[in-house]
């Protein structure tokens, strides 16, 4: 029957040419996959190298503690705090709007809505996400601010309240979809335990579903903060572009992003300190959003592993 050392028949020996082509294709695909890594590396590389001269000229202490930012004026000050305060204030206002609205939407869609309503609303949320931010900026400046001025006539044209509110509306779909995903992932068996005891949908949502989905909901908030911090056009159009160290919403201010845009609109002499300052501001922005993103993803992973 079988020989002592079975010879590999020619028909079953590896087809060398076919395998060569397969390997080639695999390598080409792998290089494409590496692009993502390259881009991250590129971002870090550029931000660091272009801002290095800036940090050589400006002390870290001044950068982090001074409350005046005037790199392009006669008297140059390089404190990043005004830009940070502008960013945080506007994002804060946005969150005050978005967190309640987004959470309520998520709870409603997950626990109350019929299949039909959910299928109609989810596309609406997606469309809202697709609206370009420059359009939101238009609204903040020409619709919301005038409306607010009717209530509070002393409100300046450029303020932080208007763009804050509009940014909040823009962020609601982000919070709603991530939080809703988290809540839908809670198994039905958990809910049935509550319903069986006579709880209403609202009680079940609050006492069972939301606690179970906490990490997902928190992840949604964190990602929303990151989105708000990185937003550019709404604030560039409606909050003004004057750096101003304040947390008062009725004043105008500039965010980190708005500053970068304002410099880019002007004349950028390659290599001047004005040019480098936008990269310095960019590093701060990148660090803020990156840490939030990593935190948000880590929190989100915790909820997918649970079940």
């Amino acid at each position: 029957m079988a020989k002592k050392n079975p010879k590999i028949s020619r028909a079953l020996a590896k087809n060398i040419r076919r395998n060569f082509v397969e390997r080639l294709i695999e390598i080409a695909l792998m290089l494409s996959g590496l692009i993502a890594v390259l881009i991250t590396f590129g971002i870090v590389f550029i931000l660091v190298t272009e801002s290095l001269p800036f940090f050589e000229a400006v002390s870290l202490k001044e950068f982090l503690t001074s409350t005046v930012w005037t790199p392009n004026f006669e008297k140059k000050n390089y404190g990043i705090l005004p830009l940070v305060s502008g960013t945080l204030t506007i994002t804060g206002i946005a969150l005050i709007v978005a967190v309640p609205l987004g959470t309520i939407t998520a709870v409603y869609l997950s626990e109350f809505a019929s299949h039909k309503i959910r299928e109609t609303i989810k596309p609406v949320l997606e469309l809202l996400v697709g609206v370009p931010t420059v359009v939101f900026g238009y609204f903040a400046l020409l619709l919301v601010t005038p409306l607010l001025q009717k209530i509070y006539p002393d409100l300046p044209t450029f303020n932080m309240l208007g763009p804050g509110i509009v940014m909040g509306v823009m962020i609601v779909p982000y919070i709603a979809s991530v939080a809703e995903d988290a809540m839908r992932a809670v198994p039905m068996s958990m809910r049935e335990g509550a319903y069986a005891m006579g709880a209403t949908r609202f009680q079940t949502a609050v006492s069972v579903v939301m606690p179970a989905a906490t990490s997902g909901i928190v992840a949604a908030y964190i990602l929303a903060i990151s989105r708000g911090i990185g937003e550019t056009m709404i604030v560039a159009i409606a909050a003004g572009q004057q750096p101003n160290f304040t947390f008062n919403p009725v004043e105008s201010a500039a965010t980190i992003t708005a500053y970068i845009v304002s410099v880019a609109l002007g004349d950028l002499e390659h290599g001047g300190i004005g040019y480098q300052s936008i990269f310095a501001a960019g590093i701060v922005l990148f660090i803020m959003t990156l840490s939030l993103n990593i935190l948000g993803q880590w929190t989100r992973k915790k909820f997918t592993e649970r079940y």
Partner: protein, 312 residues
Amino acid sequence: MSKIIGHEDNINTIRALIKKHKKNDRIFSYIGLFVIGSLAIALLVLFLDLVIDGYPKMNLEFFSNFPSRKPEGAGILSAWVGSALVLIVTFFVAVPMGVASGIYLEEYAKKGWFADLIEINVANLAGVPSIIYGLLALGLFVYEFGLGQSILTAGLTLSLLMLPIVIVATREAIRAIPVHIREAAYAVGATKWQVTLHHVLQYAMGGVLTGIIIGMARAIGETAPVITIGALTFIAFLPPTPVTDVAPFINFAWLEAGFTVLPIQMFNWISRPEHAFHINAAATGAVIIILTLLMNGIAIKLRYSIRKKIKW
């Protein structure tokens, strides 16, 4: 409410309790509906306001005029041509790379640090603010690579933004393909690439297309990164045409030209104090939002019809 339930005279207490809970339930239900309704209405108001404000300007001249110092005669010719050309570059860069990356991650990559590294990077890149991409493009494409403030640079920048969307859409679409279909293809003697090309890609195409459309819709509306690389806001000329009537019939000079795009034009007009320019901005905004809503709508429709068609 810690009374022990069971007695006749406690029945009323229970009933009152239940009534209260049901009322709360109903109230919340109304609140939820109200919130969602407001969001839908907000979207509608947004859309209508732009259209109504910009309506007077929406005529053929608007699309065929260049912007000018006087608001009345200004048009968006250079803007929409610029947008179209930039999007062409974006498409041809982001789609092949994104789909290839998605295929690699789902079909070829072995579990381990390498695949994890790529995955983490894709997830992070999706959350990077668009203006950071602008900074990357400014430092790298414009100066380091010397590509200048051109359509090519803008296209590359926007394709970086679009890349994570395409990769994620491709991966999701591929993951939806059940294992036994793949096994059937392998069992018949197909190689890995044959299974990928003849089966996986074809079945995933719908999902991939959805992602591409959403990515392109986002690219149309992106302003910040394009401003950062230095797109000019007042352009009264068009880039050279790609198709010429002398051999070799296609030239690439347009890639290097200065340009502007629709959202920047809108931004520019909003920034002017004169109300007349604001009307122009509204009209431009209406064009942009019609395009993005249309594209997103098509993508949603596409996803819906795919789900209905394929029953594994």
